[in-house]
């Protein structure tokens, strides 16, 4: 492909539209701060005050064409929000941990001095690994990369992990072992509306990735089919050709049941399976028993619907399978992912345009952030810390001896276990709010309280910051620049629209300055701008399979983004994966996995007869630390609620809007009832974006997938109790 005139494809939705330019305003080209759709937007900046004052659609962004959900429209309101932390905060009285109280403002110098003294003290007394870093992927590749280096070279600890463990780890695990590579989507999003059958499992796409919806509806308008697997009749399921309304936690049985029928109906692409995959016979043996009858019995989905879905998917000339946290946040999340990838492999629906598989990545940089070394077992470029060759290369880029590279750490949730055992005594938390987003919160809060010393870096005082000794003010996305990698695997550019508010500093700068004070300056002091980090990070990724070396900022700008892998200056990037039918396993073949069904960690029983599942609403993003502060979003959805089917409600004698007590073996909370027929009778749903006593994660279970270490947020057992108002009074 000729690099000079290459541009990523625009499709028939694209229209030339001029933007409205108000007087005394500049439009700064960027992308939304929230989810991995990374919708294009312009920030309106007043040229007199240099402040961001609004948003303008970016009609020329080929993925989303100016479209935004309400979070994106109001995202700019985070920047100059009254809740911004403007100076470092120190809390001297440790007894106030777990509350908002006791913080005083301090200078950066005082805060740095305290952190250095405490970190050094802990490491002298308890070893280097007594410190830990807990990161996040709602930040740029440059920051994610540097956070990994900061932990391993700056702090010299093995314990680093990140919030993607609660988000993308099962998808990553499943894609890696099935395809040999974890590029979340094998196709660009501009293919979606052109496929003939979309099979979407465990994704409330209309609320979580709304700007995919115009492409998804277009499949149906062209006469194509939409199949949705979800326990709830979400807005996308409402219009589906087939809605597979399964019991939460039974996805593996459903996928096996579809595979059973694909084989039985002769929809297997024999050539493709023979030439490009391994493991068909073993897989066939396992799915043999998943007849429509058995599948229906396990999943609770009517037999006819399963048969119809398998027929539509099997007959489709081109089909795409999409999945998200619904199938991934389970103790068999990795198996679920591989089972759905099996579907596309046996039908040969992969490795060509308009056919493929994708996980719909959650966080803004959920893709890039998991590739460059924030994960307990990973180094930049998706290298492995367990691989000596990989360690050697990254050490050479970092200027350390390979022996100095800390070993593999543990996953996010397991770090709390190490805090309990006092193996981990200090925590540097950034870009994440685990005091809301972790499962089994009563336990997690206890461990955060037990820490000897905790630093939280954020731009608002999050629920997690309430456990910190020092809070450092960082910038919002609009006050720094860098790259993110969107849902498609397309690297894009975030631009600075305003100078940092107050004394806030970008995360990378804080890490460089702290490293210098910890005596590790020689590895960090040359990084003076985000661009310096980009240069180093592209080099560190070079030769890894998530190779960004050729994805320069100039190329991103010129081509409307760069899909990785992008190996050098001449390489325009890789919008479609596997066009040569070469998968990333050593023999070039993909692996079909034989996956026996197993139940969830906690199945409903007499004491806890209801299936509890969690998710999001369109107005709130992840833990809600940002969106709960934005007036429009808060007005639209101020509080969480519990969705209950009317028949279930009648059984419990509870009514719409009534407050009820919802409880599990681990915790309880009070919610208002939302009656809806759009949920299974055996299931209740609560959105998770709220903190303190409103957190549904007080109830969820800390059971982990054995491979991805992903907690099972999507299925645990719970019970409802009517609140006796006489007693309350």
């Amino acid at each position: 492909m000729q690099m000079d005139n290459f541009k990523n494809p625009r499709d028939h939705f694209f229209k030339e539209v001029e933007n409205l330019n108000h007087p005394n305003e500049e439009l700064v080209k960027t992308h939304c701060s929230y989810c991995a759709m990374q919708c294009g937007m312009y920030l309106r900046v007043n040229t007199k005050t240099n402040k961001i004052i609004g948003v303008e659609p970016r009609y020329d962004w080929p993925v989303t064409l100016g479209k935004m959900c309400p979070k994106g429209v109001t995202a700019y309101q985070q920047v100059n929000h009254q809740d911004r932390i403007l100076r470092p905060l120190i809390r001297d009285d440790q007894s106030l941990k777990g509350t908002k109280e006791g913080f005083r403002e301090a200078s950066w110098e005082e805060a740095y001095d305290l952190i250095v003294k405490k970190f050094k003290g802990l490491q002298e007394n308890y070893g280097k690994d007594s410190l830990s870093v807990y990161g996040g992927v709602s930040m740029t590749n440059e920051k994610c990369y540097l956070t990994g280096k900061f932990a391993r070279v700056g702090l010299q600890t093995r314990y680093i992990d990140y919030n993607g463990r609660y988000c993308m780890s099962s998808a990553a695990g499943g894609l890696n072992r099935s395809l040999g590579v974890d590029r979340g989507s094998t196709i660009p999003w501009t293919d979606i509306h052109e496929t003939d059958c979309l099979f979407i499992a465990g994704s409330n796409t209309a609320e979580c990735h709304p700007t995919s919806m115009f492409r998804i509806w277009a499949v149906q308008e062209r006469g194509g089919y939409l199949i949705i697997a979800d326990p709830r009749e979400t807005p996308i399921a409402r219009r589906a050709d087939v809605h597979l309304d399964l019991r939460p936690g039974t996805d593996l049985a459903l996928a096996n049941g579809i595979l059973h029928l694909l084989i039985k109906n002769g929809h297997v692409d024999e050539e493709f399976v023979k030439n490009h995959t391994n493991g068909f016979e073993e897989m066939k043996q396992v799915v043999e028993e998943f007849t429509p009858e058995l599948t229906s019995e396990i999943t609770g989905v009517a037999k006819e619907k399963i048969i119809r879905a398998a027929e539509l998917y099997g007959k489709a000339p081109n089909a795409i399978v999409l999945f998200a946290r619904g199938i991934e946040q389970q103790i068999k999340g990795v198996d679920n992912v591989s089972a759905y990838v099996n579907m596309s492999l046996v039908t040969g629906n992969i490795g060509r345009p308009k056919a493929g598989v994708a996980t719909i990545t959650g966080q803004g940089n959920g893709q890039g952030g998991r590739e460059h070394g924030q994960k307990a077992d990973a180094l930049p470029g998706y290298r492995k810390i367990a691989n000596p060759e990989h360690v050697k290369y990254v050490s050479s880029v970092w200027g350390i001896e390979p022996e100095e590279m800390p070993k593999e750490g543990v996953s996010a949730y397991e770090m709390f276990g190490l805090m309990e055992q006092k193996t981990i005594r200090g925590l540097y938390l950034l870009c994440s709010n685990p005091a809301v987003s972790s499962p089994n919160l009563n336990y997690v809060h206890q461990q955060l309280k037990n820490l000897d010393f905790m630093v939280c870096v954020d731009f608002y005082l999050s629920e997690s910051a309430e456990f910190a000794d020092v809070v450092l003010p960082t910038t919002t996305w609009a006050e720094d620049e860098g790259t993110t990698t969107n849902v498609e695997g397309r690297t894009i550019k975030i631009n600075q629209a305003q100078k940092p508010l107050g004394e806030s500093k970008p995360d990378w700068q804080i890490q460089v300055e702290l490293s210098e004070r910890l005596g590790r300056g020689k590895y960090f002091s040359h990084l003076k701008t985000a661009r310096d980090i980009n240069d180093e990070f592209r080099l560190a990724s070079k030769g890894g399979y998530a190779d960004y070396y050729g994805a320069t900022w100039e190329k991103i700008d010129k081509q409307d983004g760069v899909f990785w892998p992008c190996k050098d200056e001449k390489d325009p990037g890789t919008p479609h994966m596997f066009l040569d039918k070469k998968f990333y396993h050593p023999d070039g073949k993909a692996k079909l996995f034989a996956l026996p069904y197993r139940p969830s960690a906690e199945e409903p029983d007499q004491e806890y007869p209801l299936r509890l599942t969690t998710g999001r609403v369109v107005y709130h993003y992840l833990s809600g630390n940002q969106t709960r502060r934005i007036k429009f979003l808060r007005d639209m959805c101020p509080d969480p609620f519990v969705e209950v089917h009317p028949e279930t409600a009648a059984k419990y004698n509870i009514s719409h809007e009534e407050s009820v007590r919802l409880f599990s073996r681990r915790g309880e909370a009070i919610y208002k009832v939302k009656i809806t027929e759009a949920i299974r009778k055996d299931t209740v749903f609560v959105p998770y974006s709220w903190g303190h006593e409103q957190s549904i994660n007080l109830l969820t279970i800390g059971a982990l997938d054995p491979i991805s270490r992903m907690p099972e947020f999507k299925a645990c057992a719970a019970q409802i109790e009517k609140i006796d108002m006489k007693k309350v009074k």
């Binding site: 309400p70 006469g223 194509g224 369109v618």
Partner: protein, 185 residues
């Protein structure tokens, strides 16, 4: 080229991005002027937007004793003129859809003006710019005609403004767009 707001109600997912975007039009004082309704609360997730249809002979303007509601040359029925509006709320009562909203503090009616500083130059209004589902679109007459042909099924599912109060500048396609579609296989 003259463009119109065009609605395909079946696509709506109730994200209310159109309302959020409405507050972001420079001329809208950060107040949204349209509505999104839950069609079947307690039953399913179906929603629909209710937008000003910009009637060709608008009841709101006709009912205004102070002639505060002007009609722009593009056909957009504008928000009440601050200096003329007497706050009688006749317009809200006269409008068959109850579109005009009322600010009790300012004693002033306000309503959708199709983001007139955008739409007068052919730039889509904020709601149609952001709508993630193409429920709200900004199309030329030719494009609308093509849509009408595509969805023109014999069972009266295509409903244009003719069946509403009177002739309107905004074109609406009531639920049913998928009924006329021939499946690919």
């Amino acid at each position: 080229m003259n463009k119109r707001l065009y609605l395909e109600l079946e696509n709506c997912i109730g994200c209310r991005s159109c309302l959020a975007a409405c507050t972001q039009c420079g001329g809208h004082d950060e107040r949204n002027r349209n509505y999104v309704y839950d069609v079947n609360p307690l039953v399913n997730t179906q929603t629909m937007p209710l937008m000003c249809l910009h009637c060709v002979n608008p009841a709101c303007a006709r009912s205004c004793p102070a002639q505060a509601i002007q009609i722009h040359e593009t056909g957009a029925v504008l928000s009440a003129l601050v200096e003329k509006c007497i706050g009688c709320q006749n317009c809200t009562i006269a409008c068959p859809y109850g579109i005009p909203k009322f600010d009790t503090e300012q004693n002033l009616m306000y309503k959708c003006d199709l983001c007139i500083d955008r739409s007068k130059d052919g730039i889509p209004p904020m709601c149609a710019s952001v709508c993630p589902t193409n429920t709200l679109q900004w199309l030329t007459d030719e494009e609308i005609e093509r849509k009408q042909k595509q969805f023109n099924v014999k069972n009266d599912k295509w409903v244009t403004s003719i069946h509403l109060e009177n002739e309107t500048n905004v074109r609406v396609n009531l639920p049913g767009i998928l009924q006329g579609i021939t499946k690919l296989y």
